[in-house]
Amino acid sequence: MPSSQDPLFAGLGQAVRIGTNLLATLMVGGGLGWSIDSYLLPTEPWGLVGGLILGLIAGIRNAYRTAQRWDQS
């Protein structure tokens, strides 16, 4: 069993995180925007568009932050 400080192992963990995070923020952003469109406000389709854009920004920001934190340690 590799130690949790093993650079290869920890690096693999970091790498796998970023990809799924991008997808998840897109899904959540789009989902939130879509539900605003369909249940709360008559803004179709702009809620979905805005939500997707916000989700994309959030995903890229998270990836950037994760990479930055990794660089420091």
């Binding site: 069993m1 130690s3 949790s4 400080q5 192992f9 693999l12 963990g13 796998v16 995180r17 799924t20 995070n21 997808l23 998840a24 923020t25 899904m27 959540v28 952003g29 939130l32 939500g51 916000l54 989700g55 920004i57 959030a58 995903g59 920001r61 998270n62």
Partner: protein, 241 residues
Amino acid sequence: MEDPLHPFELHTIVPLSLFGLDVSINKAVIMMFVVVGLVILLLTKARSSGSLIPTKLQSVAELLVEFIRGMIHDTMGPEGMRFFPLIATLFLFILFCNLLGLMPGAYTVTSQLVVTGVFALGVYTLSLLVGLKIHGMKFLTILVPSGTPGWLLPLMVPIEIISQLARPVSLSVRLFANMTAGHVILGVLFGLAISGGLLIGWLPFSFTVALYGLEVGIAFIQAYIFTILTCVYMGDAFHLH
């Protein structure tokens, strides 16, 4: 050729109903019982000798404990050791589910989004509760990144809300998708090997063998990632920025 998603279907073996809730026993439930029983059995057996010079099983158990402790120390600091039982249980359960699921004929419990989703939601809710208990209402400042100018707030707060909500989603989808995809690929390749016969079937079969080794590694890495992210989220609740 058989439908590659067929192994993921669940059929009731013992129909049970509790207060109108369907709690029937199926293959996944049996696998979970087996995993829990195996973990308890192995760890109590490893502990039973208790000698200073460890037996083989005992050294494996000690390695595991050291590994989990290292994860917690790196991400949460020493005060995170309060959560050692939770983190260790999560890690061992997911690891054994992933590994036992690789046995032919066994069922991979973690390939069900329900299972991973409940784990991820539970862990995430717990981290929110811990943060609220430690910091009170000040905890809501996780939604405001430090050093944000005031005019950017209407943009940054929705972004932070989305990235917070994405945490349980990415946690559950990652584990579920990795396990499902791995097993589907193994199933498809092995199906090719069988239908190819001896003449050409050895080629997909050798891929199956190689991928099987990769799957063992993935089983371990996915369990590690799930638990280390749990630690990271808990750590975020401890230390605000």
